[in-house]
């Protein structure tokens, strides 16, 4: 059996096991719930361990897809079950498997319908891993959509006050994008001869000129893909579903949403838009960068005025993912590497931020910044960890956020894309703004006088919460200190993608001369 | 008939019209005296005298009745649906009368006494007038026309007769009439099935739907090879006698259905006086009532004619080959036999209950007819 296949479907098998477990329901709800929690935790941990094996086997000096499995699936269409990992996906897979146990730990307090909750979590994990490892467009689309349903239920059933609204909004936005992408996939399939959905093959065909797509059609197809992914990212102005979804989702939902699901968008941009439509991507780059910068600043500004901590974090995601898009469309090694790195960093730190908000919410059942103040006194451990996380998120050097943002800004500055320097400068403004809103929030929540007496009696983190939080913090620090460990893994593939877009280095020089 | 429409010429029309008038008068007289006969025979059965004042033995009674009907006040009740109320008797009578164009009264090419002379005269006359007709009256066919689908035509027309009754019942706007009309139409529709299916057995023997042809086929054995004796088409020899079995069964089914179809005792529920006053024609009087009355008797005649033609050899009988003019006499004699049968039954049998009637029709007669068809088909296959 292929390792990747095992990793992908292990959670699903776990879900089935969970169902089987529930058949011998003794009637003791509490014991049963605990059983489900531990079982799920175990499954996700095992998945994580297996994914580490993948990491161990992964050869970072090879740009092509590795550990590939390719079996015919739907013969009449030429659809294959084709999975593998390369530089783009390896870390995202690890991120997913790493965040899942933490998400499970974060949902220990869920008491409503635990079995179903855990089921959906596990199905979600399969979907997410599947998205990152698929090397067949059809398969990709399938997994892309599969992630939708569990997330929809997670928000809709276990979410907050306005969960129904948020769930529907989330679902409809995503489906709109993905169906357009489906049309584009079909179109590419036909332009490629109507025989294969294989991403690798199609990329090769397009790059070698074997498959020619007319220019105007390319634009439409590019737009269809981009729309799907930009909604997922979410890039300004498609971001409106995100705050709702984040705020209403349960803590674990938010962690996964911010940590992994959003990355599916940026991953898709790199996987499809750039290699498939290099010329359109080049033309669109300034626009995308522009939108990204607007997103960065807009997200930051809106985050600043949020009275709700979770919403603040949500808008900070808009801002941070703007950086990622910026980096992707910089078409430089640094920029794109930075983008990938920022994806990981954002997954870790924002996940941690949501976890932190969730912890405090469990105690106070409010997330209003105004309801807190001075809680560093009763909760020293919590405050420390949260502070580190916030700092990593705002890009303090030696923490993970800094590396990503720095690389992106560097890459953007050196980018051949028109107006790139201006965008870099504006994006740098976003970095400052993020420091403002995060620190301001920290100041209002953790420091100062305790104004409300409920806050004085808050308990500090318990063992489970520490267990969930510490790995994230550790990783944030490790990523900040030893970035090359991570960057090396994606280096080759990123360079390949960059070359797909703007050709070999000689061509870059030409572009420079044009300017 | 299509040949009739497409190749119509004036002499043909004229000839047909003359025949129609003659036949019509014949039927009318038959009906009138059937009524008279009914009253007298019933009287005999019931040990009384019956009408015997108008004319010798009351023989002019029908005409007296007719005059009475014509001069009676024509009452149209207030609440009736006027147009339909007036139309109903006509709807009832017209289809009944239309059937008579296919009655086979006698053999084809009957030598007409004095025909030679008539032919000569008419042809000469019209030549002088410049019309140039070419008429042949040396012999006549005692039927107006013959149809490829004669029997179907008869069923079609008698089927239309039901509307007269239904419409009368509906238009009268009275509950007795309505109930009578409903019952009557239900009964007629139900028994029409038995009637038509019983005929199928005969059609299997005949192989045609042309009534005149069917009668002609029965002229073997010196005019005695009637269908109830096995008919001709079943081939020669005694084998053909086997066909008599289904034919006789069919004959009885036909007879019962025919009585029901014409709403006669013992199936006269639609006009059961004791229950429904008089059924669909409760509100009718004078000439309109007379029309219904005539229609009923014309229908009786029609089914009798059919029975005669289909089962009893029509105009066939002994010595028919020697004396062709015996044909119409045999024919009318057989028809009168059936009419007498009607009266006889009325005098002897009590009326059935409505559910008995329906059950009998659907649960006995119809299956029996179907079974009989199967039997006939089997025998036909074996005999041929």
């Amino acid at each position: 059996m292929n390792l990747i296949t095992i990793t992908t479907f292990l959670p699903l098998i776990g879900a089935i096991l969970l169902l089987l477990l529930s058949l011998r329901d003794s009637g003791d709800q509490k014991a049963a719930n605990n059983l489900y929690r531990y079982a799920t935790l175990a499954i996700t941990l095992v998945t994580f361990l297996v994914s580490l094996v993948i990491l161990a086997r992964y050869d970072s000096s090879n740009a092509a897809a590795q550990l590939v499995q390719k079996n015919p699936w739907i013969g009449s269409l030429g659809v294959y079950y084709h999975v593998g990992i390369d530089g783009l996906s390896i870390w995202l897979v690890i991120l997913t498997t790493f965040l899942m146990p933490i998400a499970v730990l974060a949902s220990w307090h869920v008491t409503k319908r635990v079995r179903e909750y855990m089921l959906f979590m596990l199905i979600l994990e399969t979907g997410m891993i599947g998205v990152f490892v698929s090397l067949d467009m059809f398969l990709f689309y399938l997994f892309f959509e599969i992630t939708l349903i569990p997330m929809y239920f997670l928000i809709g059933v276990w979410g907050g006050e306005r969960r129904i609204y948020a769930a529907i909004k989330f679902f409809v936005y995503t489906v709109v994008g993905s169906l357009l992408m489906l049309v584009a996939i079909i179109a590419i399939y036909f332009y490629n001869g109507g025989t294969t959905f294989d991403i690798v093959e199609i990329t090769n065909n397009i790059q070698t000129g074997k498959t020619l797509i007319p220019g105007n059609v390319q634009v439409w197809l590019w737009l269809a893909f981009a729309l799907a992914f930009c909604i997922k990212v979410p890039l300004f102005p498609f971001h409106t579903w995100l705050p709702d979804a984040h705020v209403e989702a349960p803590t674990a939902g938010s962690i996964i949403l911010a940590g992994v699901l959003l990355k599916m968008g940026t991953y898709g941009l790199m996987r499809f838009n750039l290699p498939f439509f290099p010329s359109v991507s080049q033309k669109a780059a300034p626009w995308m960068m522009g939108l990204a910068v607007i997103g960065i600043i807009y997200g930051a500004l809106v985050a600043m005025v949020q009275p709700d901590m979770k919403k603040l974090v949500a808008y900070s995601s808009v801002s941070h993912l703007g950086f990622v898009v910026l980096g992707i469309f910089a078409f430089t090694d640094q920029g794109m590497q930075g983008a990938l790195y920022q994806m990981l960093a954002h997954g870790i730190s924002t996940g941690a931020l949501f976890l932190g908000v969730g912890i405090i919410y469990d105690r106070r059942h409010t997330r209003q910044i105004a309801d807190f103040g001075g809680i560093s006194t009763p909760m020293p451990q919590y405050s420390t960890l949260f502070l580190i996380v916030a700092l990593s998120s705002l890009g303090l050097p030696l923490l993970n956020g800094f590396i990503g943002e720095f690389l992106i800004l560097l890459g953007t500055f050196a980018s051949p894309v028109p107006h790139a320097k201006m965008f870099a400068v504006l994006a740098a403004l976003g970095v400052i703004l993020s420091a403002v809103y995060l620190l301001w929030m920290i100041q209002r929540v953790f420091f100062g006088e305790i104004t409300k007496k409920e806050n004085a009696e808050l308990k500090d983190m318990d063992g489970r919460e520490v267990l969930a939080m510490v790995p994230l913090v550790v990783l944030a620090i490790v990523m900040g200190v030893k970035p090359m460990t991570f960057l090396r893994g994606s280096e080759k593939t990123v360079t390949l993608v960059k070359e797909y877009v703007i050709g070999k280095p000689a061509k870059v020089a030409e572009n420079h001369q044009d300017k | 008939m299509s040949s009739l429409i497409n190749s119509i010429d004036f002499p043909y029309v004229l000839g047909a019209l003359i025949k129609v008038v003659i036949f019509w008068i014949t039927i009318m007289i038959i009906c009138a005296y059937a009524v008279y006969a009914e009253r007298r025979v019933l009287a005999v059965i019931q040990n009384r005298l019956g009408p015997n004042r108008v004319g010798w033995q009351g023989l002019l009674q029908p005409f007296a009745d007719l005059i009475k009907f014509i001069f009676k006040e024509d009452i149209i009740p207030m609440s009736v649906n006027r147009a339909l109320y007036v139309c109903a008797p006509i709807i009832s009578l017209v289809p009944a009368m239309m059937v008579l164009i296919v009655y086979p009264f006698g053999p084809d090419n009957l030598p007409l006494p004095g025909g030679e002379f008539l032919t000569q005269t008419i042809n000469d006359l019209t030549t002088k007038l410049g019309l140039g007709w070419n008429v042949d009256l040396r012999s006549v066919n005692l039927h107006v026309t013959h149809f490829n689908v004669g029997i179907l035509y008869i069923f079609a027309m008698t089927g239309l007769g039901v509307y007269g009754i239904v419409v009368a019942g509906w238009a009268s706007n009275s509950k007795y009439s309505l109930l009578g009309g409903l019952r009557s139409s239900a009964q007629m529709v139900s028994y029409e099935l038995g009637l038509s299916l019983s005929v199928v057995a005969v059609l299997l023997m005949a192989g045609t739907l042309d009534l005149t042809e069917i009668v002609r086929q029965q002229s073997g054995w010196g005019g005695m090879r009637w269908n109830i004796f096995g008919g001709t088409s079943a081939g020669e020899g005694l084998k053909s006698l086997a066909m008599a079995i289904p034919a006789i069964i069919a004959f009885f089914i036909y007879l019962i259905s025919a009585i029901a179809e014409t709403n006669r005792v013992p199936f006269d529920l639609p006009e059961a006086e004791t229950e429904l006053v008089a059924g669909f024609h409760t509100e009718y009087s004078a000439l309109k009532f007379a029309l219904f009355f005539i229609a009923e008797y014309v229908n009786m005649t029609t089914v009798s004619v059919l029975a005669t033609s289909l089962f009893l050899g029509g105009w066939n009988g002994p010595f028919i080959n020697v004396f062709p003019w015996l044909g119409p006499i045999y024919f009318l004699g057989k028809v009168f036999f059936f009419l007498f049968l009607y009266i006889w039954l009325r005098g002897t049998l009590p009326r059935l209950r409505y559910d008995q009637l329906m059950n009998f029709g659907w649960k006995f007669l119809l299956p029996a007819a179907l079974f009989n068809i199967a039997l006939a088909a089997t025998i036909a296959v074996l005999v041929y």
Partner: protein, 499 residues
């Protein structure tokens, strides 16, 4: 004419015969057994349907071709569509037992009617002549009229039945008029002969052929409830007993589509100048009808609060999707789509049948509030069926839509806008398919909820539909290839006239 030249082949009508005979047997059993012989009746029905299914698979042994002087054909379209019809019938039979018991309705007639309807639909699916198309259609339709009014005491059912009947007969008249004109123009009612007549330029009255085809399109349009002939659908679906709605929303449509394929995609798909003109006209018309149907179905469905009504509009929309596949005259995607649609639709109606309680008392979406976790098996099944209807992977609904869109995009380059319209419609449809799920899972429990009972037979039927929906969503290959290339309409004669 000698009987031998008629090409009598009883194997070719074996499925229809089996089913019809079984219907008669049921009537006899019902007449001679005590009240409540439900189990025997259901058993006979099931056995005969399964036998018919086997007979359908055995059709290939009769050999591809036409029999009974061209009245009936054996080809992949027939086989595949017949299988779909029989699967639906089997599922409905399984579901009917509980329905009939819970509502104390006479079982004998119901099963007999199902069988008669199935016989009609099978005939329709195999029709090779306009007259068999007409007869099959009528047998199937008239039976469903009766089934729609099966709850005689219920005014809504009777009304539904009446409306269905009137509009159905109205449509029949159009279809028939079209057939008569086609007959007049081509001097034959045999579909192959019609094709030949058109191809060889032997059509005496081309104008009449055009009008005839148009009227037939109207007739078929009515029967598959495509816009603008769809007005009957919602009322009829809402008023009929849910299980009957499930039946008549799927199986007759499948059968009509088979006949539609035989007549239009094969009969009216001939070469020659007239043939290509005709082909162009009807394909364009079908494309417009498809676009209208999807759009109207989906948009009106958005505002529905009654689940049966919503599903009725959704079924209109789905007829539109199937029509999208129709423009290429390719049978395989349409057949697969209809199979999938039947499975998920019957499944959805089955769940609603259970949730709506006996007598269909709870069909408003609000009645379903919060029941999601009270009856998780039923609710999640319904959710899966709804996701499938919405076309979300990995359900079969997605796969079937994918095949349809792909086929249309590939086969009709001038009609690619249709695919875009279809995709936009899929997006719209997501919204209302989510609604019941939202209500069931995200809302608090409505008072007065009673846990429905599920009989074993019902459970089996549901499981069948569920497994089918998921199986076809993940592994469509086998089924798809069984219609595959050979199912492409009009193999022998002429290529479609599309440029």
């Amino acid at each position: 004419m000698q009987l031998t030249s008629l090409n009598l082949n009883y194997a070719a009508i074996a499925p229809e015969s089996i089913v019809s005979v079984a219907a008669v047997v049921i009537m006899l059993v019902d007449a001679f057994s005590k009240k409540g012989a439900r189990k025997i009746n259901a058993g006979i029905t099931l056995v005969s349907l399964v036998l018919a299914l086997i007979a359908v698979f055995g059709l290939n042994s009769a050999g591809r071709g036409s029999y009974f002087s061209g009245m009936i054909v054996v080809d992949p379209i027939r086989v595949f569509f017949s299988v779909t019809i029989l699967i639906v019938s089997i599922a409905v039979t399984l579901l009917a037992s509980q329905f009939l018991r819970d509502e104390a309705l006479p079982p004998g007639e119901f099963f007999a009617l199902i069988l008669f309807a199935t016989a009609g639909m099978l005939l329709l699916a195999g029709a090779g002549d306009l007259v068999t198309v007409f007869l099959g259609l009528e047998i199937a339709s008239i039976t469903t009229y009766v089934m729609a009014g099966y709850r005689r005491y219920d005014t809504r059912a009777s009304e539904s039945s009446l409306k269905y009947f009137l509009l159905g007969s109205f449509a029949t008249a159009f279809l028939l008029y079209g057939m008569s004109l086609v007959y007049g123009a081509t001097a034959t009612t045999n579909l192959t002969a019609i094709n030949q007549a058109i191809a060889e330029g032997k059509v005496q009255f081309p104008a009449l052929l055009m009008i005839g085809a148009a009227l037939m399109l109207v007739g078929f349009g009515f029967k598959i409830a495509s816009a603008p002939f769809h007005l009957w659908t919602p009322d009829v679906y809402e008023g009929a007993p849910t299980i009957v709605t499930g039946f008549m929303g799927t199986a007759p449509k499948v059968a009509v589509f088979a006949a539609f394929l035989h007549t239009f995609a094969e009969g009216f798909n001939a070469g020659g100048p007239l043939g290509s003109q005709l082909h162009h006209v009807w394909v364009t018309a079908v494309a417009i009808i498809a676009a209208l149907t999807m759009t109207i179905g989906n948009i009106v469905a958005l505002s529905q609060k009654n689940i049966k009504r919503m599903l009725a509009y959704s079924s209109i929309a789905h007829a539109g999707y199937a029509l999208v596949g129709f423009v290429t005259s390719e049978a395989a995607p349409v057949g697969f789509y209809l199979l999938v649609y039947s499975l998920m639709s019957v499944g959805a109606f089955a769940v609603i049948q259970l949730l709506a309680r006996a007598g269909d008392q709870k069909v408003e979406a609000a009645d379903y509030a919060g029941i999601g976790f009270q009856t998780p098996a039923l609710s999640f099944s319904l959710a899966i069926f709804l996701f499938s209807l919405a076309g979300i992977p990995p359900t079969a609904g997605f796969m079937s839509k994918f095949f349809i869109f792909k086929s249309a995009w590939d086969g009709a380059p001038t009609l690619r806008w249709l695919v875009v319209v279809a995709v936009i419609n899929s997006i719209i449809s997501v919204y209302y398919y989510l609604y019941p799920i939202v209500v069931m899972f995200f809302r608090p429990l409505a008072p007065g909820f009673v846990k429905p009972r599920v009989s074993t037979m019902t459970a089996v039927a549901l499981a069948l539909a569920l497994i089918g929906t998921l199986y076809l969503g993940i592994l469509p290959n086998r089924v798809m290839s069984s219609i595959g290339r050979s199912g492409t309409a009009n193999t022998a004669l002429v290529q479609p006239a599309s440029k």
